[in-house]
C-alpha cells in the first residue's frame, strides 16, 4: 500500500477506480491501469529508444529514456506482481529501436517479459514488434467485454482500451493552470496516457478526440504525484 504525507499525517492512498463496461480498473499515478481480479497491468506507448531516434538525427538527447521507462515498469511489477502485462502498442519508437538499444536495457526488458505473460499489442510505430524480448504479439486482445488495441476507433467503441494519442489535460484551479497526462474515459471506453519517459501529450480537447469521445460527457483522470484525479471535461482547458 502506498502512503502519502498530508499535513504531517501519513495515510494510505486509495487509488480511484474507473469502470469501463462494468469492469473496474485501478488507475495508478504512474500512468498504468490495474485489473486486480485478473492481476492484469496495462500500459500504453512506451516508445523505447525514442531518445536514440533523435540522436540518429543529430539531436543527442540523454540516452536514458529506455531505462527510465523500464525502471518504472519494474517497480510496478515488483509491487503488484501481475500475471499479465499488456503493452498497448508503440512500445518501440521505430523499427530500428532494438538495434540501437543498449544490451543491458534489452536484457532487462527480456527478463521482465519472461517473468510474466507479456502481450505486445502492435502499434503504428511498431507494426511488427521485435521478437527478441519474449512475450506474444497481437493486433488486439479480447477479454470479456473489453478489447485492447493500440489505435482507438470512432465511437461507439464499447469496451475498448487504447493508447496512441498520449492524452493529457489542463485544468485551472484558483487561477493556476495545471497540465498533466491523463486517462480519458466516458465509461464505455478508455484512452490510456503514454507511459514512456520521452512521450509527450496531446490535449484531450484537441479535435483528434472528437470522433472518439464526442461532446463533453467524459472525464480526464489526471495524474498527480501520488494519486489520480478525475476532472469533468467541461472543466478542462485546451492548449
Amino acid at each position: 500500500m502506498q502512503r502519502a504525507i498530508d499535513g504531517g499525517i501519513v495515510r494510505p492512498v486509495a487509488h480511484p477506480s474507473l469502470a469501463v463496461c462494468g469492469v473496474a480498473f485501478d488507475l495508478l499515478p504512474e500512468g498504468a491501469a490495474w485489473l486486480a481480479e485478473e492481476r492484469l497491468l496495462v500500459v500504453a506507448d512506451l516508445h523505447f529508444e525514442k531518445g536514440s531516434a533523435f540522436a540518429a538525427r543529430g539531436v543527442a538527447l540523454p540516452p536514458y529514456d529506455t531505462r527510465t521507462t523500464i525502471a518504472r515498469l519494474e517497480a510496478l511489477v515488483a509491487r503488484l506482481k501481475p500475471q499479465t502485462l499488456v503493452a498497448l502498442g508503440d512500445s518501440f519508437h521505430d523499427g530500428e529501436a532494438e538495434a540501437r538499444m543498449d544490451a543491458e536495457d534489452a536484457a532487462r526488458i527480456a527478463r521482465l517479459s519472461r517473468a510474466l505473460d507479456w502481450v505486445w499489442i502492435a502499434g503504428n510505430h511498431d507494426p511488427e514488434p521485435p521478437q527478441g524480448f519474449g512475450g506474444v504479439v497481437m493486433a488486439e486482445l479480447r477479454l470479456g467485454p473489453l478489447i485492447f488495441r493500440h489505435e482507438p476507433r470512432s465511437a461507439p467503441a464499447t469496451g475498448e482500451i487504447s493508447g496512441h494519442l498520449h492524452p493529457c489535460a489542463a485544468v485551472r484551479v484558483r487561477g493556476r493552470r495545471l497540465r498533466r497526462r491523463c486517462f480519458a474515459s466516458d465509461g464505455t471506453r478508455m484512452i490510456m496516457p503514454a507511459f514512456g519517459a520521452y512521450a509527450g501529450g496531446l490535449n484531450v480537447l484537441d479535435a483528434a478526440y472528437d470522433p472518439l469521445l464526442p461532446g463533453l460527457g467524459f472525464h480526464a483522470w489526471m495524474m498527480g504525484a501520488r494519486t489520480v484525479v478525475p476532472v469533468a471535461a467541461h472543466r478542462l482547458e485546451g492548449d
Binding site: V59, A60, Y64, G187, G201, L202
Partner: protein, 847 residues
C-alpha cells in the same frame, strides 16, 4: 558628434585632412580621441571610458580612419575594422554617423552593416569582397567565424571596436564574444581591440576582457578615461493628492498609479520625455493610464520588445523626427541610438541599480556640458528609500559592482561546434585558445574535454551514440588529432541555432472583430505583437488584459496565435505582475540599509515615509546596517516570521524555499511565504519566535549557511525554475534545436517538452555538463544562490529577533502582497486535488 571643449589638446597628431575637417566644423578633437589615435598608431589595445555625448564612437573609429586614409594609395583588399554592438539598430545608426565624416573628408573607405536583416545575396558578396569597415553583432561574428574561409576573411583584420562593452561583457553574449575574440586573435595576431564603455565600477575587468590572457598572470589593455559630463539633476517625485497638500505614498504595489497625473504634468512641461519602466506589462499599464489623462492629446508612444518590429520602427522614426512628446519604454531603449532632443528621463518605480540609473539618465540630453535631467517615481514606501539611495549614488557617480562571471559551458559548447564548422581543430590547441579568453581562464582541461565530448555525442557515460557523433577524427596524416564536423547537416544545424539569446516561447497576438462569428481558426486579424506563452497560459477565454495599449479580451488560441478582441471594459481583469524584472543591486541594497540605520539621512525623505520609520522604531526596531532584523508576531490564526535582508526578490524567494523546509522539519508547520525586494514573510501554525526562546529552534541555526547544502539540493530536485533554465542551456549548447517539438502546438502532433529530458538526465547523470551549466545559471540568475550565500555569511552572529504582539509598520508592505503571487511545487499538488474535490460526487456517479 563632437563639440568644442576647453580641455581638448592640439590636433597635432592628426593627419592634415583630419585636422582640416575638425577645423571646418569649428571643432577641436578631444584629448581622449587623440589619445586613442596615438595608441592605435602604436598598435595598442585600449578601453575608452567616456560619458554619453563625449564623441565616444568617433574616438573608437578615428585610429582606423587615419590608418585607412594613410594606406589608401597602396591599399590591400580585406576587412580592416570590425565594429560589434549589442544592438543591430545601433550598428545601423553608427554606420550612418560614421559615413558623414568619411564623406566630408573625401576618404575612399567602404562601410557596411551585417545583421540578421541583411539580405542573403549581400551577405555572400560581403564574404567575397569585404568592406573596409563592417558593423555587426556578436552572433554575426560567430557565424562569420564558422565559415571555412574565416581564416582568409579575417587575415587582414587590424582592429575590432566593441561598443557598449559594459553591457555586453558580463553575460552569455559576452562569453560568446570573448570566444570569438580569442579566435580572431589567432587568425590575425596583430589585431588591436578598442572597447567603448560607460563608467563602470571595475574597469580592470573590461581591460582584461579585451586582451588575450597569458598562461599565468594577466594582461590588461591600455585605458583612456574621458572627463565626466555635468552632474545630472535628479528629483524624486512624491506628489501630493489632488486638491490637498498632503503627500501620499502607497504602502505597497508597483504601479505608481498615484503619481501618474504628476508624470503627465512633467510631460506637458517638457519637450520630449522618455518614461522608463522595468517590465513590459508595466509599460502597458503606464501607457494606458497616461492616455487616460491625456486631455491635450499629446503624442505619447509605447516601445517594448514584444511589440511588432514595424510598430517599434514607427515609434523610433517619429522619435528621431522629433514629433513625439513622450515614449513609454522598457530597457529596449536603455542603450543605443541618439534621440537628440530628450530633455527629461522619468524612471517609474525604483531603478534597482545605480549603473542602470546612470545609463538611463544618459539618454537625456546628449550634450556633455549640460546636466541631464531625471525624475524618479517611487511606487511605494520602500521604493522611496531606494530612489533616494539611487539618487545619492548617481550624484556621486557611484556604480554597482560587477559580479565576475565564469564563462558558461553551454556557450562554450556552441563555440566548439562553430570551430569545427570552420575547419578541423586540435582539442589541445583549442583549449589553449579558449583559456586565453578572460571568462574561461579557470576552465580545466577535463571540463573542456567534457564539453567537446558533449558536442560530439552528448557527453553521456552510456556510450550508445558513437555512430551518431557530430565530430569525427580528421586523421589526414599520422598523428593528426584534429576533429571535424561529421556532416554538412551538422554545419547547417549550427548555423540555424547560433546565438545565446533564447526567447521565452512566444505567441502572436491577433486582434479580430468582436462578434464576427468564427474568429478562431479563421485567417488574419490585426497583428499586435508577441506575448509570452506562460502569460497566455494563465488566461481563460473572456479574460481581459492590457497589451499594445489596448484592453484586450482573450478569445482563445488558434495554432500559435492568441486571438483577442477589443474589450469595452476600461479595467483589465487580469492584473499583470508589476514586480521588477531586475533584482535590486547589492550596492544599492547596502545603501538602503545604511539609510535605515542613519537617522540624519531621513531629512531628505517625505513626511509619510519618515513617520513610517519613526513608528517602526517605536513599535519594533529598525534594521541595522550589518544585522538582520527578524520579527515574529501572531496575525489571524497564524504566526508570521518576517525578515529584512534587502537582497532582492529572487534571493528572497530562494531563501523562503529553504527556510520553509527547515521550519517544517523543526515542527513549526509553515504554511506559505512571500518574498519582496526587501523582505521575506513566512507564516506558520506555530510561533517560531517562541520556539527560538524555548531553544527548540534557535534562529542562528535556522539561518545557518549549511542550508545551501542538502536543503538546496533537495529543493532543486523539485524546482520548476531549474527546468526553465535547463531549456535555455539545452538550446544554447545545441542539444535541442530552437524549433524543437514542444513549442509547436499544431494539429495532431504529439509533443514533448525539455522537462522530460531534464527529469531523465537528472535521474541518471546528475553531474552531466549540461546540468552543471544549468545549475551555474540558476545560482547566479533565477535563484541568486550566490547572493543568499553572501547574505548568510554577513548576518552570521548578527540576527536580531523582535517578538511583537502584532504586525509591525515595516512588515505591512510585504503582507499586503500576499495572495498576489503564486508559489508552485507542492502547492500545485494540493490544487490538483482541489480540482477533484468539488467534482468527486459527479465523478463517482460515473462508476
Amino acid at each position: 558628434m563632437t563639440a568644442p571643449l576647453p580641455f581638448a589638446s592640439e590636433a597635432g597628431s592628426l593627419p592634415p585632412v583630419f585636422a582640416r575637417w575638425f577645423a571646418a566644423r569649428g571643432w577641436r578633437p578631444r584629448a581622449h580621441q587623440l589619445a586613442l589615435v596615438e595608441l592605435g598608431g602604436a598598435g595598442k589595445s585600449a578601453l575608452l571610458i567616456a560619458p554619453t555625448g563625449a564623441g565616444k564612437t568617433l574616438a573608437g573609429f578615428l585610429p582606423s580612419l587615419v590608418d585607412l586614409a594613410d594606406r589608401e594609395a597602396a591599399r590591400k583588399r580585406g576587412l580592416h575594422t570590425l565594429y560589434i554592438s549589442p544592438l543591430k539598430a545601433l550598428a545601423v545608426d553608427v554606420k550612418r554617423n560614421l559615413e558623414t565624416p568619411v564623406a566630408e573628408m573625401g576618404l575612399a573607405i567602404s562601410i557596411e552593416t551585417r545583421t540578421g536583416d541583411t539580405p542573403q545575396n549581400r551577405r555572400q558578396r560581403q564574404r567575397r569582397e569585404p568592406p573596409d569597415i563592417l558593423m555587426t553583432t556578436p552572433e554575426q561574428l560567430a557565424l562569420l567565424l564558422s565559415y571555412p574561409d574565416a581564416r582568409e576573411f579575417f587575415s587582414a583584420l587590424s582592429c575590432v571596436v566593441l561598443d557598449e562593452l559594459h553591457a555586453l561583457a558580463n553575460s552569455k553574449r559576452g562569453d560568446l564574444l570573448a570566444l570569438g575574440l580569442a579566435r580572431l586573435a589567432k587568425l590575425a595576431p596583430a589585431l588591436r581591440r578598442t572597447g567603448l564603455s560607460a563608467t563602470v565600477a571595475e574597469p580592470d575587468a573590461l581591460r582584461r576582457y579585451l586582451m588575450p590572457q597569458p598562461e599565468t598572470g594577466e594582461t590588461l589593455s591600455e585605458i583612456v578615461v574621458a572627463p565626466p559630463g555635468a552632474v545630472p539633476e535628479i528629483s524624486v517625485l512624491t506628489p501630493a493628492d489632488e486638491g490637498s497638500e498632503e503627500v501620499r505614498i502607497p504602502w505597497s504595489g508597483h504601479s505608481a498609479r498615484h503619481a501618474l497625473p504628476a508624470v503627465y504634468e512633467a510631460i506637458r512641461a517638457n519637450k520630449t520625455v522618455l518614461v522608463f519602466v522595468n517590465t513590459r506589462s508595466q509599460a502597458e499599464f503606464v501607457f494606458q493610464e497616461l492616455w487616460r489623462l491625456n486631455e491635450d492629446a499629446l503624442p505619447i508612444a509605447l516601445h517594448h520588445g514584444s511589440l511588432s518590429a514595424e510598430a517599434r520602427r514607427k515609434v523610433e522614426a517619429a522619435m528621431a523626427a522629433g514629433t513625439l512628446r513622450a515614449v513609454v519604454c522598457t530597457s529596449t531603449l536603455d542603450l543605443g541610438i541618439d534621440w537628440g532632443e530628450v530633455d527629461l528621463v522619468v524612471n517609474m518605480g525604483a531603478p534597482k541599480g545605480a549603473s542602470r540609473l546612470l545609463q538611463r539618465i544618459g539618454r537625456a540630453n546628449h550634450r556633455l556640458d549640460e546636466p541631464s535631467r531625471a525624475m524618479l517615481v517611487p511606487a511605494n514606501r520602500f521604493e522611496v528609500l531606494e530612489c533616494e539611495a539611487a539618487r545619492a549614488a548617481a550624484l556621486e557617480g557611484a556604480q554597482d559592482g560587477m559580479v565576475s562571471r565564469q564563462g558558461a559551458l553551454d556557450v562554450l559548447a556552441q563555440h566548439v561546434l562553430g570551430c569545427a564548422c570552420a575547419e578541423p581543430f586540435d582539442p589541445d590547441a583549442l583549449y589553449g585558445e579558449v583559456r586565453s579568453a578572460a571568462p574561461y581562464r579557470a576552465l580545466t582541461r577535463d571540463d573542456f574535454g567534457k564539453v567537446v565530448d558533449f558536442v560530439s555525442i552528448g557527453g553521456y557515460a552510456l556510450k550508445t551514440y558513437d555512430r551518431f557523433a557530430r565530430l569525427r577524427p580528421n586523421a589526414k596524416a599520422e598523428g593528426d588529432m584534429r576533429l571535424r564536423a561529421a556532416s554538412p547537416a551538422v554545419v547547417q544545424q549550427y548555423r540555424m541555432n547560433v546565438g545565446t539569446i533564447v526567447e521565452a516561447p512566444m505567441l502572436k497576438v491577433r486582434m479580430v472583430r468582436r462578434g464576427g462569428r468564427r474568429p478562431l481558426g479563421g485567417m488574419g486579424g490585426r497583428y499586435l505583437g508577441e506575448i509570452e506563452e506562460y502569460f497566455i497560459d494563465q488566461l481563460a477565454p473572456g479574460d481581459t488584459f492590457l497589451f499594445a495599449g489596448h484592453v484586450l479580451r482573450f478569445e482563445g488560441l488558434s495554432e500559435t496565435d492568441a486571438i483577442v478582441t477589443q474589450s469595452s471594459s476600461a479595467e483589465p481583469k487580469i492584473p499583470s505582475y508589476y514586480g521588477g524584472k531586475f533584482p535590486l543591486s547589492t550596492y544599492l541594497a547596502a545603501r538602503v540599509r545604511r539609510m535605515f540605520a542613519h537617522r540624519e539621512q531621513w531629512t531628505a525623505l517625505p513626511a509619510p515615509v519618515r513617520e513610517w520609520l519613526e513608528i517602526q522604531a517605536w513599535r519594533s526596531v529598525l534594521p541595522g546596517e550589518k544585522d538582520l532584523l527578524v520579527e515574529c508576531f501572531p496575525r489571524g490564526d497564524r504566526f508570521f516570521l518576517v525578515c529584512y535582508p534587502f537582497e532582492g526578490r529572487l534571493a528572497h524567494q530562494t531563501l523562503g524555499m529553504l527556510l520553509t523546509r527547515r521550519l517544517d522539519r523543526a515542527g513549526a508547520r509553515p504554511m506559505g511565504f512571500i518574498a519582496s525586494e526587501y523582505a521575506l514573510a513566512i507564516w506558520c501554525l506555530r510561533d517560531p519566535g517562541l520556539m527560538h526562546e524555548r531553544h527548540e529552534l534557535p534562529l542562528g541555526e535556522l539561518f545557518a549557511e549549511d542550508m545551501l547544502g542538502d536543503d538546496l539540493d533537495a529543493w532543486l530536485a523539485e524546482s520548476s525554475l531549474l527546468k526553465r533554465t535547463f531549456r535555455d542551456c539545452a538550446i544554447i549548447s545545441g542539444l535541442i534545436e530552437r524549433r524543437f517539438p514542444g513549442q509547436e502546438k499544431t494539429g495532431r502532433q504529439v509533443t514533448f517538452s525539455s522537462d522530460l529530458i531534464y527529469n531523465v538526465l537528472r535521474e541518471h547523470e546528475p553531474d552531466h555538463i549540461l546540468l552543471r551549466a544549468t545549475y551555474n545559471d540558476a545560482a547566479t540568475g533565477l535563484l541568486d544562490v550566490a547572493r543568499v550565500a553572501e547574505m548568510l555569511k554577513r548576518i552570521r552572529g548578527h540576527i536580531r529577533l523582535k517578538r511583537l504582539d502584532r504586525v509591525s509598520p515595516l512588515a505591512v508592505p510585504v503582507l499586503l502582497d500576499i495572495g498576489k503571487v503564486s508559489v508552485g511545487g507542492e502547492a500545485d499538488e494540493a490544487l490538483l486535488s482541489e480540482a477533484a474535490d468539488d467534482l468527486i460526487a459527479e465523478a463517482t456517479r460515473l462508476v
